[in-house]
């Protein structure tokens, strides 16, 4: 079999980089992007990393550093990040038709079929092109397996001398091993925190140690998944490129609230809103659901009475019709709601998802294909209008109008690429 060649392209501090593209004054200023509800740090510029602020750290712990170093703070602007991500992926697709979008800011490229003399040079070309087209800086690891590209990327990110590109295929086995020795076991792709603790207890501390571990022993304790990682570290490709993402089997909409919520009416607005959002996602992948799960819970970090519950409801006929889903969700909510608690988070989860064209009408039921088409057309129109004129141009009254419970996003930047009203204005 011909040797495989993969590249992993990973956007540097992606959310921060997106904000910097549209804020000229932030080139050299430290920047933080916050999680949903403006609670914790989810992205940091390099300057912020150097100040010792950690990923996931609650923002109130950083207030002094923020003031002292004049750090710019943003709420997460997911519509901007999603659009910039799509742009990056589009540029990458110029370099290989075999592309796996691994996350919002990472993609694997399969370069095995191409004849490339100098892979490092090729990597630098990709990096320069993405930067020019989108303004987003990236790091690139090139290797014969996906797992090794991840390792290469770990090293590139920590050592500026590589200028963002590292090609393992150009290195000798010995030189590669020296690199692998620098990567801690918990940073190896696919090794969770539980397994890394177990491996450390057995003297396996680095990626290099794992590479030379007995694969039979690894298989016994880390299953075939662990064995595959060992083989990948040795240069045998076992984890194939997934160019096509399978349709999601479960769709979730879950968020914590901007403030505590106690009244059932407010929870109803919330659950209706989350259901409408989940139904929109369901329709966007042309699917139907026949099971809805709703959960609510209080703030576990607070010293107040605690309650949490979740209920599932089977839906007799698969549907993606928002009013029907809301009806079921509210029924479930009312059954589990208890008065006297401060609720902080809720979620709606759709499962038993089937493709829309797989619907089976029931001969003896009230369900008719005619009704089904009518519902589908109505939803199609609502989705189209909301897409054209902005989210929630049309919504269901039960979702509430002012929504005072909404997520805090007090430091949101403009939707520079997805709303005409928000595009950059310059002199």
């Amino acid at each position: 079999m011909r040797k495989k060649i993969y590249a992993l392209v990973d956007c540097n501090n992606f959310y921060v980089s997106c904000e910097r593209v549209f804020h000229a004054s932030l080139r050299a200023r430290p920047v933080i992007v916050l999680s949903n509800n403006d609670g914790c740090v989810v992205a940091r510029s390099n300057e912020v990393k150097k100040l010792g602020i950690k990923m996931g750290q609650p923002i109130f712990e950083c207030e002094e550093l923020i003031r002292k170093h004049n750090i710019q703070i943003f709420s997460s602007n997911y519509s901007l990040y999603a659009d910039m991500s799509a742009r990056v992926m589009k540029v990458l697709s110029q370099f290989s038709s075999r592309l796996e979008v691994y996350s919002i800011d990472e993609a694997f490229l399969d370069l095995s079929e191409q004849i490339i003399d100098d892979l490092s040079e090729f990597g630098r070309t990709i990096k320069a092109r993405v930067l020019q087209f989108t303004g987003i800086p990236v790091s690139i690891g090139i290797a014969s397996t996906k797992c090794l590209t991840k390792v290469a990327n770990e090293i590139v990110k920590k050592d500026a001398r590589y200028e963002g590109v590292l090609d393992f295929t150009a290195l000798s086995e010995q030189a590669t091993d020296e690199m692998l020795a620098k990567v801690a076991i918990e940073d190896v792709w696919g090794i969770g925190s539980k397994y890394s603790l177990f491996l450390m207890n057995h003297g396996i501390l680095s990626a290099k140690d794992l590479k030379y571990a007995d694969e039979k022993w690894i298989r016994r304790y880390l299953t075939v998944v662990g064995e595959r990682i060992v083989l990948e570290l040795r240069g045998t490709a076992c984890i194939p490129l997934e160019a096509e993402r399978p349709a999601k089997k479960g769709i979730m909409c879950s968020k914590s609230f901007g403030r505590d919520v106690t009244r059932l009416e407010e929870l109803e607005e919330i659950i209706a809103t989350y259901t409408a959002r989940a139904a929109e996602k369901l329709r966007s992948q042309d699917s139907l659901t026949s099971c809805i799960t709703v959960f609510i819970r209080t703030n576990a970090l607070k010293d107040t009475p605690q309650y949490s519950n979740s209920f599932s409801q089977r839906i007799p006929y698969p549907t993606a019709f928002t009013p029907e889903l809301i009806r079921y969700a509210l029924k479930v909510l009312r059954a589990m709601y208890r008065d006297g608690y401060n609720y902080k988070k809720a979620g709606v989860f759709l499962t038993k998802i089937i493709p829309q064209d797989g619907v089976q009408p029931d001969l003896f039921s009230e369900f008719s294909l005619y009704d089904y088409y009518k519902q589908a057309r109505l939803m199609y129109l609502i989705d189209a209008i909301n897409k054209m004129y902005g989210r929630d141009t049309l919504f269901f009254a039960v979702q509430g109008i002012t929504r005072p419970w909404k997520m805090r996003q007090s430091r949101l930047s403009g939707h520079f690429t997805t709303r005409w009203s928000d595009i950059l204005t310059i002199n």
Partner: protein, 131 residues
């Protein structure tokens, strides 16, 4: 990016003879096709002020900025200049680089070693509302 299509042909017959035009239907014109050469690298920017008036870029216009294009002498660019964005004409004169406004009321800006300067993108079209 939205796909706004302007339909030139929309001809339906519900019964009777098929339309004689059916064989001639073509894909509707799409403004994106004309204006956007590199979708991944194209951004819209609103112009404020009149410093580029004589290049037919007016206050309130929306310019199409293509980051994929290489800027050259006389390109109109969106530039990053000392912590701010600006739209000006890029010009090389006697070995020096200038950002030149297209309005006699404004002075050209010389780019020196101490200027924090880079080109953000090249302006390719200007959308000007006339009604």
């Amino acid at each position: 990016m939205n796909d706004h299509r302007l339909s030139l042909f929309l001809w339906r017959v519900s019964c009777g003879f098929p339309s004689p035009a059916d064989d001639y239907v073509e894909t509707a014109l799409d403004l994106n096709e004309l204006v956007i050469a590199h979708p991944a690298a194209t951004f819209y920017v609103r112009v404020s002020g009149d410093s580029m008036m004589n290049a037919a870029i007016c206050h309130g216009d929306i310019i199409v900025v293509d980051r994929a294009r290489e800027p050259g002498h006389n390109s109109i660019v969106v530039a990053h200049l000392d912590g701010e964005f600006t739209v000006k004409r890029l010009s090389q004169r006697d070995g020096a680089l200038y950002l030149v406004p297209e309005n006699p009321l404004y002075q050209p800006i010389q780019i020196t070693d101490t200027t924090d300067f880079s080109v953000w993108g090249v302006v390719t079209y200007c959308i000007h509302k006339v009604v």
